[in-house]
Symmetry: C2
Subunit: 399 residues, 2 copies
């Protein structure tokens, strides 16, 4: 399956992105719409944070019906920790969007990202929605992607086409934003996937749930988890292959997973201040939980991540993280490779191989592979390095 | 009880610190001795990391007897992840120390800190021990403190005197090193406490165990946990008040706790690249576990720590961390203060108070206080900010 980095036309959906003046930067796009020609089937997953933003509560409530027609998303203000006023504002933003595009307010869901604890001005927002509704285009996906960016340096879009059993092709496309507060269980992250396939809400749920472990839940930038994370999957059914057959659902789910994985990878690659994309693979763990906690501990360790930034094949820090993860680890058994170079085995550092590993770590992407040799479970997490720019961005930017 | 930052004379103990050439820096002290005039009672606690360094295994084994006469500690090499060769080296370093000072090798324990995965040269080490044995002095505590420093910018020593029931005074003094890899459960950290009190090994164990929750286990620098952490408490009994009475044990334990807390505070204040010492207090949690995980999540969040560095009263990030900690948190109930300024209450940000909080955050020390208003449990963790220099130190230094 070919997944492209970039937009696609998805029959039944139009998109736009405009500048409504919600962001500080003059003229930056900060309000986007996704509108389906008719009510689409839909499913969504959300932040596991105990403190959820107002738009998350509204979306959780409305997506239960399995049908949505529009998403109104903004950057520049997270509408999080804003109490009842925030909930009212989130519902109002949907109501005025519904009026502009002509659908029931319950079919519109809001998303917000940006500074926490503040409300946006509804007048600015309303003017933005009016403008965005006037600019809806089937090729407007990139405008939408730009409107939801915060510290992202570029828009993130991926798409693929899949041939279904009946010979018809369906398209799946996705747009995401990330940059910081990305970790356990899908963090500051908004992602929207749309497809022209006809799929029931429960089929969409199956597909999205299956996609998460190897995509949005398998990445970390800083171990922090946002209050606004949302992934929505909507299907227009504009390609009139009836509801998916069991076999088609398998292919469709794989498509959703691969588009999600591509977007997730782009999120890490564009992590705040990131200069490297590192795949942390743990194999041979005693249990799946051990594998995951070991991979996450390595992927989140500030000492490991600063060593990545410094191109330092620092075996000690990686093993320190593995050993402190709670997973069963036996130092005499494990094998560790960095960028394909074996650097530790049989309880000892392979000192002679370190210069070669250091050289390979200069590349923008590499893999850290730890085989615990204790069992059959494995886990893979994508992470990035911790650079001066991460500190700069986060010491100077108020989220 | 007055605890002083600085050394004290502790009857029955002598100390030294020399340069044995184990560190890269020419002439830097890197080998230290603590020697008791006669076998002392002793107890110790260690890293919870699954991968422990060779000297930790040797110390764990030997301290079980409850008696030690000497510690030989080095910086510049952690002797961790060094397999059987590392264990042999650790035992050898004790044997040659025992020969120099004239005691049984089983009464000597080793500690190492520095680069992981490498062995030190035993010849250099032996020469260093010989020199250090010749320089033992009752006022040599600062030399010892310097010999165990890695990225620490200054030696850390604290001491106090306590009057016992019988009218006699006993002294407790401690030396520690820290700087990075400091977190959950007592991380890269070596600390040695000595006292002239007469206390049984089990009394020492009680005192040290009681001291940990509010000292070495209540600090974090980067959430990472080292393979070498060791805290040793030794009592010479040189002040011949018989074994501690129950009441004296209480006073003695408080002394151990306060000296430990002072050292722990110094470790955080001197954390790698740290410019601020922040006390994170969580109160009103549903359970002690909730209080602790909430405080730790805030104290370890890179986004929170970079905001500290930027003097940014970033309520959103603190609440994001609280909400993602797993603790029960209700955003409508909690109260949050930064540096004594209330910044969030009743589900809303107190926007007008933010400039004042930002101003107060310019100070070198402040407190973040979060009252969850859900129960009676509390937890306090000391942390520091995450600065450019943390990245610099750890991208350029191989541990």
């Amino acid at each position: 399956m070919d997944v492209n980095l970039g937009p696609a036309l998805v029959a039944g959906f139009r998109f736009s992105g405009v500048s409504a003046g919600l962001k500080h930067q003059e003229g930056a796009k900060d309000l986007g719409l996704i509108v389906a020609d008719a009510p689409a089937t839909a499913t969504a997953v959300f932040s596991a944070n105990r403190i959820k933003a107002a738009p998350v509560y509204v979306t959780m409530d409305r997506v239960r019906s399995g049908r949505l027609q529009a998403v109104v998303a903004n950057s520049g203000c997270a509408n999080s920790f804003t109490g009842k006023a925030g909930l009212k504002l989130a519902r109002e933003s949907c109501a005025l969007t519904a009026r502009e595009i002509g659908c029931a307010p319950e079919l519109v869901v809001p998303s917000s990202t940006g500074v926490i604890g503040h409300l946006f001005e509804i007048e600015k927002f309303a003017a933005g929605v009016r403008e965005a509704a006037g600019q809806l285009r089937d090729d407007g996906m990139e405008d939408f992607a730009r409107a939801i960016m915060t510290t992202d340096t570029h828009p993130k879009i991926a798409s693929t086409s899949i041939r279904m059993g009946g010979g018809q092709s369906v398209t799946i496309a996705g747009v995401a934003k990330g940059a910081g507060m990305i970790s356990p269980k899908m963090a500051t992250m908004l992602a929207y996937l749309v497809t022209d396939a006809a799929a029931s809400p429960s089929q969409l749920k199956v597909a999205l749930k299956a996609a998460l472990p190897n995509s949005f839940n398998a990445i970390t930038i800083d171990g922090d988890m946002s209050t606004n994370d949302t992934v929505i999957l909507m299907a227009s059914g504009a390609v009139r292959n009836n509801a998916l057959s069991r076999r088609d659902l398998v292919a469709f789910s794989r498509g959703v997973e691969e588009v999600s994985a591509m977007l997730a990878r782009e999120l890490v690659r564009d992590g705040e201040g990131a200069t490297k994309l590192v795949t942390v693979e743990v194999r041979g763990a005693k249990s799946p939980a051990d594998a995951e906690r070991c991979a996450r501990q390595i992927a989140n360790s500030p000492l490991v991540k600063t060593a990545f930034f410094g191109c330092d094949p620092n075996v000690g820090r990686i093993l320190m993280a593995a050993g402190s993860s709670g997973a069963v680890v036996e130092s005499d058994r494990l094998l560790l490779s960095i960028a394909g170079i074996r650097v530790a085995a049989r309880g000892a550092l392979l000192v002679d191989s370190l210069p070669q590993a250091a050289e390979k770590m200069r590349e923008r992407e590499f893999t850290v592979s730890l085989d615990l040799k204790l069992g059959k479970s494995s886990s893979t997490i994508l992470t990035c390095d911790l650079s001066y720019d991460y500190v700069k961005i986060n010491a100077e930017y108020t989220t």
